[in-house]
Subunit: 190 residues, 2 copies
Amino acid sequence: MSGPKQARRTLILDAAIRLLASRGLEGVTHRAIDEAAGLPQGSSTYYFPKKEMLLVEASRHLAALLEKDCDELQVGFADIAARQGVDAAVDYVAGEVVSYADTARDLFLARMELTLAAARRPELKDVGDLLSAAARRPIEFFLRLTSGGRTDMPIETCAGLIDGISLMYATGQGPKPTTDQIAAVFRAVL
Amino acid sequence: MSGPKQARRTLILDAAIRLLASRGLEGVTHRAIDEAAGLPQGSSTYYFPKKEMLLVEASRHLAALLEKDCDELQVGFADIAARQGVDAAVDYVAGEVVSYADTARDLFLARMELTLAAARRPELKDVGDLLSAAARRPIEFFLRLTSGGRTDMPIETCAGLIDGISLMYATGQGPKPTTDQIAAVFRAVL
DNA sequence: AGAATTTCTCTACATATGCAGAGTTATTCA
DNA sequence: TGAATAACTCTGCATATGTAGAGAAATTCT
């Protein structure tokens, strides 16, 4: 499932995600993607003849990228929890959440765009759920290890808290949250 | 500042906000607004010859609507705080936050659309700030009365928390939060 | 090598959009 | 009442977009 063909496909989907972040859903057009990907006009149309496909596949691609990042976070978390205890690991995750809004701003904004779009377009519902699940997974892992599932705050609500803070910062509507503040929120919901 | 002219203008801006919620920024076109407002084609173009104007004015209109709702919330909060104490008032606000996602779903989703758009379009930056400020105002009031400003959680972060939970629910990515859960978040950040 | 097939690239076209401006109706004012 | 002005409404046009399909280039196969 790789090779030059797959590489090209990936170039296109990466460009789509970048465009989602930089110009929003309305900025995602076949032509704009071709240009952003540095490919001849018609390339994205060839790989994804219908725009709906393009958005669905871009969502899946984004979910895969998120899962990769999330897996790394989980590993780091488990590692620190084992060595330095859960408290230190909570601080670690809080720090990661803070820096994630900077290092993966495009991924985050693209996900927000797609989440909003999925709320009103039935054909995107499934991939919207997929994206949410991907973003939720490390939090689930995190909560299980820290509270043993004893919290009565649903996992989705915890994910919402984090997304909300990230959105506030990513859209420039508030200051960068500190590690302490995020950690305080975590400890509050546990 | 009212009369039939103003009424028509308001019809148009209301329709724009409805479209923002139901079809996103890409669904907001002069023609779609005319139809949604039940006015002849060309009406929205007449009142807002440039699309940028349309979005700016729709944002201002939305901010005004939000401020109206927020004022009512503040009054209710202050009232309950005076009669039944701060704790009861916190519960009241939590309940209002929960129900707001249902009763004012369009206003909320429209604000999310505009906030995301404002993050990438400089000409919308100012109205984006306006919207954030409108959403923040009751929280500021709320925090001042409950914690006396003693919390070190910035007001913007608190607003982010609430928006995140609302977004999760409004986009169907999670269950409706309960009053208790919201109240727990409030008490946690105080 | 040469044919066959796949992989792409380019052009074309129907539709939708922002916007301008002409034409029309309603309102104001003398 | 009748002209002047304001408030619309409608048509048209340049541009952008999704998508189809022709054609070119690369690859595979014999």
